[in-house]
């Protein structure tokens, strides 16, 4: 019998550690830590595998004894059971797990389990071929970079393979995109896969040194990778004369220090060199002059993991999945106002509405879907009538959004789109490194204009001004951060312009989310209980018991405490 507990960062924060400790103490069988299977909404997850498999969800230290009893009685625990096989669940029916196949299944630190699951067969297949043939395989597979730009990986590798002398491979694990944590999941749950991918890359391109640059905010991922790298060295899967094939590859980890822009490849290179993480003008591209001026390939965590998968399953098989322009699968994070949050992997070309409604289950608590934000702060908002669009680089771009690293944030009808645009402008404005003027100044002015609109101080003509400046920032910024920074504004203007208009002309927020534009009122349903008066922090509510109370708008700070505490729903937000 084998019992596993999902203990990636998400499992731990849901309280998985005490569950693990209790199971280990109470049961006389193998209890193992695994990574995250992707069902973050059911964490902590415990899987009991015997003759049959039982997957239990929402296990806490208070109800874990039920599982212990069930295991001892050799019976299933019906109360906590979610499924016997993940594929029975709606959440997994439309998924295709290639890169994440081992996540939440194997012990991430156990190389033998990784090998038993078919790991390192990709590298074995690769070293049977000539390096050029490996690159050809990657080219044939149609793999495009999973970091966001979608550049063909085989072509990137080809650029540096012909160059002589020192070359570097970099794994971009600086996953700063808010709403995206799929790289963290892969690093924590299946670290050998990306290490294998990088080793294949080293063999193919002739680079002998690699660096994994990862965020310091991911302590568990760093720890997992460190152990995995040490293990790979011991097993001669890294270091000198790998697998006796005469090629060397050294791999180390470099930690970031909290700067979103370091996810941009040239800023990342500067950061590795110990400098401020400001982007460098391109060209020259890293493939010409990268780390320490040497040819460098920078690929995302996901891309490296895909490389291992491609060499394992074969380029032809891989290329059967996906669309005409983009092959394979994409790992996606589903968050925001959605029932089933988590990490999913779907074939490229899956329709957005299948992802949101079939896999994610739509919006929770009876709220309605309003927009989908794809691509984080550089992305755009997609309205409901465009959800027939397939998930792929170009179709999303046509909508004014981007695929980005693959973070999908669902926004419900309780959110104001101007506020969403303002939030993202605030984000990029703070993260702008300050090197180029359009981004440094432009994002600040755009933010100021949005702030004035949400305060109710917008004037006719503001929208046109915002549009003009947004286009300027997009066209003239140095790196991707500035070039994509206006996307949230431009896309919300494209699909939700009426909300901007309402803020400016009617001085009203249709979603009732912008505090300066809403006010609280007591309706005739008031029973005069006086509960609101007790809770009001500014004594803005007055009245006599058993009569209708009244809110003094001058004193009201719009904290909403009265609204939340009224038992008769007699307080209205206007």
């Amino acid at each position: 019998m084998r019992i596993t507990v999902g203990l990636a960062t998400c499992g731990i924060s849901a309280g998985g550690i005490p569950v693990f400790e209790t199971l280990k103490k109470e049961l006389d069988c193998k209890v193992e830590k695994v990574g995250c299977i992707g069902m973050c909404h059911n964490e902590p997850i415990v899987t009991v595998s015997d003759d049959k498999t039982y997957i239990y969800g929402n296990v806490t230290k208070d109800n874990v004894d039920k599982i212990i009893r069930a295991v001892k009685d050799k019976k299933p625990c019906a109360e906590l059971l979610i499924a016997n096989d993940i594929n029975e669940l709606e959440f997994y029916k439309k998924q295709k797990r290639l890169v994440t196949e081992n996540c939440g299944v194997i012990n991430p630190l156990d190389l033998d389990q990784y090998k038993d699951a078919g790991g390192y067969s990709g590298l074995q297949n690769a070293v049977k071929l000539q390096p050029e043939q490996v690159i050809q395989n990657i080219t044939d597979s149609g793999l495009r970079g999973r970091g966001g730009a979608g550049f063909p990986t085989g072509m990137k590798w080809k650029f540096i393979s012909g160059k002589k002398g020192k070359k570097y491979l970099i794994c971009n694990g600086d996953e700063g995109d808010p709403g995206a944590f799929m790289n963290r999941l892969v690093m924590e749950s299946d670290p050998f896969k990306m290490i294998e991918g990088m080793t294949i890359g080293a063999y193919a391109t002739g680079a002998d040194e690699g660096i994994i640059y990862t965020r310091a905010e991911y302590p568990l991922a760093i720890q997992t990778l460190e152990i995995a790298i040490q293990t790979a060295y011991k097993e001669n899967l890294l270091g000198k004369d790998i697998l006796g094939k005469g090629f060397n590859f050294d791999l180390r980890i470099q930690k970031g220090a909290g700067a979103f822009v370091c996810g941009e490849e040239t800023a990342l290179i500067n950061s590795i060199e110990g400098k401020r993480g400001s982007p460098r003008p391109r060209p020259p591209y890293p493939a010409e002059k990268g780390l320490y001026g040497k040819p460098t390939v920078v690929n995302n965590v996901g891309t490296w993991a895909h490389v291992a998968t491609i060499m394992k399953m074969g380029a032809k098989e891989y290329a059967k999945i996906g669309t005409a322009k983009t092959k394979g699968t994409k790992v996606i994070c589903l968050t925001g106002h959605i029932k089933r949050t988590g990490v999913i992997e779907v074939p490229i070309g899956t329709k957005l509405k299948e992802i949101i409604f079939d896999i994610g289950g739509g919006c929770p608590d009876g709220t309605k879907f309003k927009a989908l934000l794809s691509g984080g702060p550089a992305g755009g908002c997609i309205p409901e009538d465009k959800l027939d669009t397939p998930l792929d680089f170009e179709p999303l771009q046509e909508l004014g959004a981007i695929m980005g690293s693959g973070g999908l944030v669902v926004i419900n009808d309780k959110s104001c789109m101007v506020d969403v645009a303002k939030y993202f402008m605030n984000f990029t404005q703070e993260e702008s490194c300050g090197k180029c003027t359009p981004c440094r100044e432009g994002t600040k002015r755009l933010l100021e204009m949005l702030q004035s609109i949400t305060r109710g101080a917008g004037k006719p003509g503001d929208i046109e001004k915002i549009e003009k400046l947004s286009n300027f920032v997009r066209d003239n910024s140095l790196c991707g951060l500035g070039q994509n920074a206006p996307n949230p504004i431009l896309s919300t203007l494209r699909y939700f312009r009426q909300e901007y208009d309402a803020h400016i002309t009617d001085k009203a927020c249709p979603a009732k989310a912008c505090l300066d534009l809403v006010s609280y009122h007591i309706t005739e349903h008031c029973k005069g209980c006086g509960n609101c008066e007790k809770h009001c922090p500014t004594k803005a509510i007055t009245g006599k018991l058993k009569e209708r109370f009244f809110i003094d708008q001058e004193k009201c700070i719009k904290c909403g405490v009265c609204f939340e505490n009224c038992a008769f729903k007699a307080i209205e937000k206007r």
Binding site: S13, A14, R184, E217, A257, A259, F260, E273, K275, T341
Partner: protein, 137 residues
Amino acid sequence: MVQDLLLPILKHEQKKSGYISEAAIKRISIQTGIPVSRIFGVATFYSMFHTKPQGKNMIEVCHGPSCHLNGSFNVLKSLYKSLKIKPGETTKDKKFSLHTCSCIGCCDKGPAMLLNGKQYTLLDETKLKAIIKKCRS
């Protein structure tokens, strides 16, 4: 290539002293030969480095979009209520420093924050009060 080591050196300094002081920057400059201006530039660029003394407990509230949509501003509001500090400030008794930070990857369980590097998720006022009380005792 001593500059390579600057980030790890600064991280070490911050861990040791809680922040990176002017004196420390000057010392590192003498030891490594990297100009003071460059070290200061790096120390102020990355959000994880602090050039001012910090409180004993470091609170970093995630301001990623999922946490924003799920009410990270309420977390800041509650913290202001109990600690009377805004992001970037430290309490008078030097017990708490409050910052916002970029996404910590707990998007599925927002709003989230880090307290001395440990993740706390699905925050609400009651939970926060309990956390702060525990830190104070």
